[in-house]
Amino acid sequence: MLELVLFYIFAAIALISAILVITQHNVVHSAAFLGATLFAVAGIFLTLHAEFLAGVQVIVYVGGILVLFVFVIMLIAVERAEHERQYNRQWTIALLTSAILIIEIAYGLYQGKNSFVLPPAVIPPAVPATGNSELVGTGLYTTYLLPFEIASILLLVAIVGAVALAKKRTSAEE
């Protein structure tokens, strides 16, 4: 029962703030609501027994990515963008396409609803003896070591790319 209540609270916060993110005129407000959504999603992770991921979500998303967004908003002037038209001309067709998308996904999920119910024998006893972080760490450093290393190279490339994009051009290069 508690699980259900928590799920609905977090889901409602996540969805309402997500809608507010894409409807606000002021970008700073959007960023604030994005933070609310990210926190609610971290709560959803907690109800799914993924404690480590909930921590990572708060630290990396809210503490890292969102702060980066706010920094960039601070660096570039936003006053003018607020008074411009907020939605582009194709918004009706975009809404229509999105409605079709959500109906399609929901219909597919509803049709396959019973396939999510696995026979009970397949599921091993629920609570594992070790903690969640330990399980994730073991998976990350044994079975998925190669993807992990590739992810680290991706981050390195992203750092170099961001610096190369944002740095000032010298006159010799132009």
Binding site: E3, Y61, Q90, L101, V117, I159
Partner: protein, 100 residues
């Protein structure tokens, strides 16, 4: 009783909100935020199935998705800053140099 179905519906709704944001807004910052919303929806999916099947694989891949999101945010915001230096705008409709 919360089932995997609930989580998948939540994830689908969050993803669709992200799609609407990308397709309708003109402000590039909000488009980047919508992409983050979509990545979060994917993470909810992965972790819901990880919990359902009692396997840690979904959570490991959620970490990879978060890594990609961080890289995407860094490069995307670098592009935004470079764009703002050149064009003094955040409106994507004015960035049409390569548009046919």
């Amino acid at each position: 009783m919360v089932t995997t179905f609930h989580y998948l519906l939540l994830s689908a709704a969050l993803f669709t909100i992200g799609v609407i944001g990308v397709l309708t807004r003109r402000n590039i910052m909000i488009i980047l935020m919508s992409i983050e919303l979509m990545m979060n929806a994917v993470n909810i999916n992965l972790i819901a199935f990880s919990d359902r099947l009692q396997q840690v694989t979904g959570q490991v891949f959620a970490i990879f998705v978060i890594t990609v999101a961080a890289a995407e945010a860094a490069v995307g915001l670098g592009i935004v800053i470079a764009m703002f230096k050149n064009k003094e705008t955040m409106n994507i409709n004015e960035i049409d140099l390569m548009k046919w």
